[in-house]
Symmetry: C2
Protein backbone atom coordinates (compact mmCIF):
# COMPACT_ATOMS: atom_id res chain seq x y z
CA UNK A 1 0.00 0.00 0.00
CA UNK A 2 1.56 3.25 -1.08
CA UNK A 3 0.65 6.30 0.90
CA UNK A 4 1.04 9.33 -1.34
CA UNK A 5 1.95 12.60 0.33
CA UNK A 6 -0.77 15.15 -0.32
CA UNK A 7 -0.73 18.85 0.50
CA UNK A 8 -3.59 20.52 2.31
CA UNK A 9 -6.46 21.15 -0.07
CA UNK A 10 -6.38 24.81 0.91
CA UNK A 11 -2.89 25.13 -0.52
CA UNK A 12 -3.77 23.80 -3.96
CA UNK A 13 -3.89 26.16 -6.90
CA UNK A 14 -7.52 25.47 -7.89
CA UNK A 15 -8.75 26.03 -4.37
CA UNK A 16 -6.82 29.25 -3.90
CA UNK A 17 -7.66 30.54 -7.37
CA UNK A 18 -11.30 29.96 -6.56
CA UNK A 19 -11.14 31.92 -3.35
CA UNK A 20 -8.87 34.58 -4.74
CA UNK A 21 -11.10 34.98 -7.78
CA UNK A 22 -14.13 35.55 -5.58
CA UNK A 23 -12.26 38.26 -3.69
CA UNK A 24 -10.99 39.85 -6.90
CA UNK A 25 -14.52 39.87 -8.35
CA UNK A 26 -15.94 41.39 -5.19
CA UNK A 27 -13.33 44.13 -5.15
CA UNK A 28 -13.80 44.92 -8.80
CA UNK A 29 -17.57 44.91 -8.34
CA UNK A 30 -17.22 47.35 -5.45
CA UNK A 31 -14.95 49.56 -7.56
CA UNK A 32 -17.34 49.85 -10.51
CA UNK A 33 -20.55 49.91 -8.48
CA UNK A 34 -20.41 53.73 -8.09
CA UNK A 35 -20.46 53.84 -11.90
CA UNK A 36 -23.78 52.02 -11.85
CA UNK A 37 -22.55 48.78 -13.34
CA UNK A 38 -21.23 45.34 -12.46
CA UNK A 39 -18.32 43.28 -13.81
CA UNK A 40 -20.47 41.63 -16.48
CA UNK A 41 -21.29 45.03 -17.94
CA UNK A 42 -17.59 45.74 -18.13
CA UNK A 43 -16.99 42.42 -19.85
CA UNK A 44 -19.66 43.23 -22.40
CA UNK A 45 -18.19 46.63 -23.15
CA UNK A 46 -14.72 45.11 -23.41
CA UNK A 47 -15.94 42.64 -26.02
CA UNK A 48 -17.58 45.42 -27.99
CA UNK A 49 -14.47 47.56 -27.72
CA UNK A 50 -12.38 44.72 -29.09
CA UNK A 51 -14.85 44.27 -31.94
CA UNK A 52 -15.12 40.64 -30.87
CA UNK A 53 -18.88 40.33 -31.35
CA UNK A 54 -21.66 41.90 -33.30
CA UNK A 55 -25.09 40.54 -32.43
CA UNK A 56 -26.41 39.97 -28.93
CA UNK A 57 -26.34 36.23 -29.50
CA UNK A 58 -22.67 36.32 -30.39
CA UNK A 59 -22.10 38.44 -27.32
CA UNK A 60 -23.82 35.85 -25.17
CA UNK A 61 -21.63 33.07 -26.54
CA UNK A 62 -18.46 35.10 -26.08
CA UNK A 63 -19.37 36.03 -22.52
CA UNK A 64 -20.48 32.53 -21.65
CA UNK A 65 -23.95 33.58 -20.60
CA UNK A 66 -27.41 33.00 -22.00
CA UNK A 67 -29.08 35.37 -24.44
CA UNK A 68 -31.60 36.71 -21.94
CA UNK A 69 -28.80 37.88 -19.70
CA UNK A 70 -27.37 40.00 -22.51
CA UNK A 71 -30.74 41.70 -22.80
CA UNK A 72 -30.60 42.88 -19.20
CA UNK A 73 -26.97 43.95 -19.42
CA UNK A 74 -27.63 45.86 -22.64
CA UNK A 75 -30.76 47.51 -21.22
CA UNK A 76 -28.65 48.89 -18.40
CA UNK A 77 -25.80 50.08 -20.61
CA UNK A 78 -28.23 51.63 -23.05
CA UNK A 79 -29.95 53.50 -20.21
CA UNK A 80 -26.53 54.86 -19.23
CA UNK A 81 -25.92 55.92 -22.82
CA UNK A 82 -22.90 53.61 -23.03
CA UNK A 83 -24.13 51.44 -25.89
CA UNK A 84 -26.61 51.75 -28.73
CA UNK A 85 -28.82 49.09 -30.24
CA UNK A 86 -28.76 49.39 -34.01
CA UNK A 87 -30.92 47.22 -36.24
CA UNK A 88 -28.81 45.22 -38.65
CA UNK A 89 -30.07 46.27 -42.13
CA UNK A 90 -29.02 42.90 -43.57
CA UNK A 91 -31.06 40.95 -41.03
CA UNK A 92 -33.57 43.02 -39.20
CA UNK A 93 -33.90 40.47 -36.42
CA UNK A 94 -30.42 41.30 -35.24
CA UNK A 95 -29.21 44.11 -33.05
CA UNK A 96 -25.74 45.35 -33.72
CA UNK A 97 -24.49 46.83 -30.46
CA UNK A 98 -22.13 49.75 -30.63
CA UNK A 99 -20.12 51.43 -27.93
CA UNK A 100 -20.81 55.15 -27.71
CA UNK A 101 -18.20 57.77 -26.80
CA UNK A 102 -19.75 57.80 -23.33
CA UNK A 103 -19.32 54.04 -23.27
CA UNK A 104 -15.64 54.35 -24.13
CA UNK A 105 -15.21 56.82 -21.33
CA UNK A 106 -17.03 54.52 -18.94
CA UNK A 107 -14.91 51.57 -19.99
CA UNK A 108 -11.78 53.64 -19.49
CA UNK A 109 -12.88 54.45 -15.95
CA UNK A 110 -13.32 50.74 -15.27
CA UNK A 111 -9.89 50.01 -16.68
CA UNK A 112 -8.37 52.68 -14.47
CA UNK A 113 -10.11 51.21 -11.44
CA UNK A 114 -8.87 47.73 -12.31
CA UNK A 115 -5.33 49.01 -12.75
CA UNK A 116 -5.47 50.64 -9.33
CA UNK A 117 -6.70 47.38 -7.80
CA UNK A 118 -3.86 45.53 -9.48
CA UNK A 119 -1.38 47.81 -7.77
CA UNK A 120 -3.00 47.16 -4.37
CA UNK A 121 -3.14 43.44 -4.97
CA UNK A 122 0.49 43.08 -5.92
CA UNK A 123 1.83 45.57 -3.39
CA UNK A 124 3.40 42.84 -1.29
CA UNK A 125 5.08 41.16 -4.25
CA UNK A 126 8.41 42.12 -5.71
CA UNK A 127 8.23 43.63 -9.20
CA UNK A 128 9.68 40.42 -10.61
CA UNK A 129 7.12 38.29 -8.76
CA UNK A 130 4.27 40.54 -9.84
CA UNK A 131 5.39 40.36 -13.44
CA UNK A 132 5.73 36.59 -13.49
CA UNK A 133 2.33 36.28 -11.80
CA UNK A 134 0.79 38.52 -14.40
CA UNK A 135 2.35 36.50 -17.18
CA UNK A 136 1.33 33.12 -15.75
CA UNK A 137 -2.23 34.30 -15.18
CA UNK A 138 -2.29 35.56 -18.75
CA UNK A 139 -1.28 32.14 -20.02
CA UNK A 140 -3.97 30.40 -17.98
CA UNK A 141 -6.54 32.96 -19.04
CA UNK A 142 -5.95 32.46 -22.75
CA UNK A 143 -5.69 28.72 -22.26
CA UNK A 144 -9.04 28.46 -20.51
CA UNK A 145 -10.64 30.65 -23.16
CA UNK A 146 -11.59 33.49 -20.88
CA UNK A 147 -13.91 36.16 -22.34
CA UNK A 148 -11.07 38.48 -23.18
Amino acid sequence: MSEAELPEVTTTLVYRLGGLGAIASARFAAAVEPLGIRPKHVALMAVLSAGAAASQLELAQTLGVVASVVVGLTDRLEALGAVERLRDPDDRRRHRLSLTPAGRTLLASCTAAATALDAELTASLSPAEAQSLHRAVGVLASETGLPA
Copy 2:
Protein backbone atom coordinates in the same frame (compact mmCIF):
# COMPACT_ATOMS: atom_id res chain seq x y z
CA MET B 1 -3.97 67.21 -19.97
CA SER B 2 -1.93 64.06 -19.57
CA GLU B 3 -3.15 60.98 -21.35
CA ALA B 4 -2.02 57.94 -19.36
CA GLU B 5 -1.50 54.70 -21.23
CA LEU B 6 -3.88 52.07 -19.94
CA PRO B 7 -3.92 48.37 -20.79
CA GLU B 8 -7.10 46.62 -21.82
CA VAL B 9 -9.25 45.90 -18.79
CA THR B 10 -9.34 42.24 -19.79
CA THR B 11 -5.58 42.01 -19.29
CA THR B 12 -5.60 43.33 -15.73
CA LEU B 13 -4.91 40.98 -12.87
CA VAL B 14 -8.17 41.54 -11.00
CA TYR B 15 -10.24 40.97 -14.10
CA ARG B 16 -8.40 37.80 -15.06
CA LEU B 17 -8.28 36.50 -11.51
CA GLY B 18 -12.03 36.96 -11.34
CA GLY B 19 -12.64 34.98 -14.50
CA LEU B 20 -10.00 32.40 -13.74
CA GLY B 21 -11.38 31.93 -10.24
CA ALA B 22 -14.84 31.28 -11.62
CA ILE B 23 -13.43 28.61 -13.91
CA ALA B 24 -11.35 27.08 -11.14
CA SER B 25 -14.38 26.97 -8.84
CA ALA B 26 -16.53 25.38 -11.53
CA ARG B 27 -13.93 22.72 -12.24
CA PHE B 28 -13.43 21.95 -8.59
CA ALA B 29 -17.19 21.83 -8.07
CA ALA B 30 -17.52 19.37 -10.95
CA ALA B 31 -14.73 17.26 -9.49
CA VAL B 32 -16.28 16.93 -6.02
CA GLU B 33 -19.89 16.78 -7.17
CA PRO B 34 -19.77 12.97 -7.57
CA LEU B 35 -18.85 12.88 -3.87
CA GLY B 36 -22.11 14.61 -3.09
CA ILE B 37 -20.61 17.91 -1.97
CA ARG B 38 -19.66 21.36 -3.17
CA PRO B 39 -16.57 23.50 -2.60
CA LYS B 40 -18.01 25.12 0.53
CA HIS B 41 -18.35 21.70 2.15
CA VAL B 42 -14.70 21.09 1.39
CA ALA B 43 -13.77 24.43 2.91
CA LEU B 44 -15.69 23.58 6.06
CA MET B 45 -13.97 20.22 6.42
CA ALA B 46 -10.59 21.83 5.77
CA VAL B 47 -11.16 24.29 8.60
CA LEU B 48 -12.17 21.49 10.94
CA SER B 49 -9.17 19.41 9.87
CA ALA B 50 -6.89 22.32 10.68
CA GLY B 51 -8.57 22.73 14.06
CA ALA B 52 -9.19 26.32 13.10
CA ALA B 53 -12.72 26.56 14.50
CA ALA B 54 -14.89 24.95 17.09
CA SER B 55 -18.46 26.23 17.11
CA GLN B 56 -20.64 26.74 14.07
CA LEU B 57 -20.51 30.49 14.60
CA GLU B 58 -16.72 30.49 14.52
CA LEU B 59 -16.90 28.35 11.42
CA ALA B 60 -19.19 30.89 9.77
CA GLN B 61 -16.79 33.72 10.52
CA THR B 62 -13.79 31.76 9.28
CA LEU B 63 -15.56 30.76 6.08
CA GLY B 64 -16.93 34.23 5.52
CA VAL B 65 -20.52 33.10 5.38
CA VAL B 66 -23.53 33.64 7.59
CA ALA B 67 -24.47 31.25 10.40
CA SER B 68 -27.52 29.85 8.64
CA VAL B 69 -25.34 28.70 5.75
CA VAL B 70 -23.21 26.64 8.11
CA VAL B 71 -26.35 24.87 9.27
CA GLY B 72 -27.09 23.66 5.76
CA LEU B 73 -23.49 22.66 5.05
CA THR B 74 -23.27 20.78 8.32
CA ASP B 75 -26.61 19.04 7.73
CA ARG B 76 -25.26 17.67 4.49
CA LEU B 77 -21.91 16.58 5.89
CA GLU B 78 -23.59 14.98 8.89
CA ALA B 79 -25.92 13.04 6.58
CA LEU B 80 -22.82 11.76 4.76
CA GLY B 81 -21.28 10.74 8.07
CA ALA B 82 -18.38 13.12 7.51
CA VAL B 83 -18.89 15.30 10.58
CA GLU B 84 -20.56 14.95 13.97
CA ARG B 85 -22.38 17.57 15.98
CA LEU B 86 -21.35 17.33 19.62
CA ARG B 87 -22.89 19.47 22.31
CA ASP B 88 -20.29 21.52 24.09
CA PRO B 89 -20.58 20.50 27.77
CA ASP B 90 -19.25 23.89 28.86
CA ASP B 91 -21.89 25.79 26.92
CA ARG B 92 -24.78 23.65 25.83
CA ARG B 93 -25.87 26.17 23.22
CA ARG B 94 -22.79 25.39 21.19
CA HIS B 95 -22.18 22.56 18.78
CA ARG B 96 -18.60 21.39 18.56
CA LEU B 97 -18.19 19.93 15.09
CA SER B 98 -15.81 17.06 14.66
CA LEU B 99 -14.49 15.41 11.52
CA THR B 100 -15.12 11.66 11.50
CA PRO B 101 -12.74 9.11 9.95
CA ALA B 102 -15.12 9.02 6.98
CA GLY B 103 -14.82 12.79 6.83
CA ARG B 104 -11.04 12.59 6.73
CA THR B 105 -11.26 10.09 3.91
CA LEU B 106 -13.70 12.33 2.04
CA LEU B 107 -11.46 15.34 2.53
CA ALA B 108 -8.48 13.35 1.26
CA SER B 109 -10.44 12.49 -1.90
CA CYS B 110 -11.14 16.17 -2.44
CA THR B 111 -7.49 17.01 -1.95
CA ALA B 112 -6.49 14.36 -4.48
CA ALA B 113 -9.00 15.77 -6.97
CA ALA B 114 -7.67 19.28 -6.43
CA THR B 115 -4.10 18.12 -6.91
CA ALA B 116 -5.05 16.46 -10.18
CA LEU B 117 -6.74 19.67 -11.35
CA ASP B 118 -3.60 21.61 -10.44
CA ALA B 119 -1.59 19.41 -12.74
CA GLU B 120 -4.02 19.99 -15.61
CA LEU B 121 -4.13 23.70 -14.97
CA THR B 122 -0.37 24.19 -14.98
CA ALA B 123 0.34 21.73 -17.79
CA SER B 124 1.23 24.50 -20.21
CA LEU B 125 3.55 26.25 -17.77
CA SER B 126 7.18 25.42 -17.22
CA PRO B 127 7.94 23.90 -13.81
CA ALA B 128 9.60 27.16 -12.80
CA GLU B 129 6.59 29.20 -13.92
CA ALA B 130 4.19 26.86 -12.16
CA GLN B 131 6.17 27.09 -8.96
CA SER B 132 6.40 30.88 -8.98
CA LEU B 133 2.67 31.07 -9.76
CA HIS B 134 1.93 28.79 -6.84
CA ARG B 135 4.07 30.88 -4.54
CA ALA B 136 2.62 34.21 -5.66
CA VAL B 137 -0.93 32.91 -5.32
CA GLY B 138 -0.04 31.68 -1.86
CA VAL B 139 1.14 35.14 -0.87
CA LEU B 140 -2.02 36.80 -2.17
CA ALA B 141 -4.18 34.15 -0.50
CA SER B 142 -2.66 34.69 2.95
CA GLU B 143 -2.66 38.44 2.42
CA THR B 144 -6.35 38.59 1.56
CA GLY B 145 -7.15 36.38 4.54
CA LEU B 146 -8.56 33.49 2.58
CA PRO B 147 -10.29 30.75 4.60
CA ALA B 148 -7.24 28.54 4.69
